[in-house]
Assembly symmetry: C2
Homo-oligomer: 169 residues x 2
DNA sequence: CCTACCGATCGGTAGG
DNA sequence: CCTACCGATCGGTAGG
């Protein structure tokens, strides 16, 4: 609901209804609406991290690995249960201390990406892995949340491939 | 205020205060809060369109033109008076009919981009201009709103150049 | 454009 | 986890 309607437009009553509770009961489980958001973002980042690790386990060739990471990232972006990258739009509603906490976990997610990009640059299969390359890459992938339609002409595979080809041209 | 705090978190009282009005007065000028959003988005798109046209007037070489368009787009993205691409995040709060109206103007903004990309592809300076190339390009540029800091190491010029180099490799 | 106000909603709490 | 409720806020309006 935070993804589809946005944090501000989702009421704690909406959430209570969705799980068959009364309006006051969410606050038995969570101290505040913000803590609910923080929890779901952190859970999603964790799931994304694991999905990423699973996708690249045992893949030695860095180009193959990058392509799999991109596909895994897009999968996670549109998975109905944990659309974390979309939730990151909502981090702004957290208080600063919670925002710092989320940022630390999000940073950790970025590390394997930078490692793989550096590897490719070292092998000469990428002109450079210096900033802002990684951020441009995430831009290509994450922006798809603004226009991708599951019933459209382009598949997630096609998007991942097009972005990878652009990078590795 | 819609950009920095978001539409939902900006109250009509905030807006009234900012221009020295009383709480009810914005509704003398605008029928509703939504209409205020629609107006400011459309004005910003118009300004962006003109900034883009001004940047490419008389530029025949398509690569030069694309590079200028990218720089102009980033400038517009972070111009303090009309951060339209950021406002496009808020389109979701408009009712469907207003959303359609905005989408039509936003589509018009995309046309010169596709034209220039097609031109480059025709000249063989781009492997292809087929979808989702244009959208990947906008992803690289627009996503910078999530991480760009004016006081950081990277300038808008550097970002535009890195993205252009990636595209035209 | 202001005053005065309404109806509704919302996050959160006390007490059980 | 429910009931009952509060304090505050908010978009919007009537009347001038």
């Amino acid at each position: 609901m935070f993804v589809s309607k946005g944090f501000m437009a989702t009421t704690t009553r909406d959430i209570a209804d969705a799980v068959g509770m009364r309006s006051g009961s969410p606050f038995y489980h969570f101290r505040s609406k913000q803590e609910l958001l923080k929890t779901v973002i952190l859970e999603g980042l964790e799931a994304g991290q694991q999905r990423l690790q699973a996708a690249i386990a045992g893949i030695d060739d860095p180009e193959q690995r990058l392509r799999r990471m991109m596909r895994a990232h897009l999968d996670h972006l549109f998975a109905s249960d944990c659309q974390t990258p979309l939730l990151l739009y909502e981090v702004r509603w957290l208080e600063p201390s919670a925002r710092v906490e989320v940022a630390a976990v999000a940073d950790r997610y970025q590390q394997p990406w930078q490692t793989t990009l550096d590897e490719l640059a070292l092998l000469g299969r990428l002109p450079s892995s210096a900033p802002p390359l990684r951020l441009l890459l995430f831009g290509m992938l994450n922006w798809s949340s603004q226009w991708f339609r599951p019933d459209g002409d382009l598949s997630l595979d096609a998007i991942a491939e097009a972005a990878a080809d652009l990078l590795l041209a």
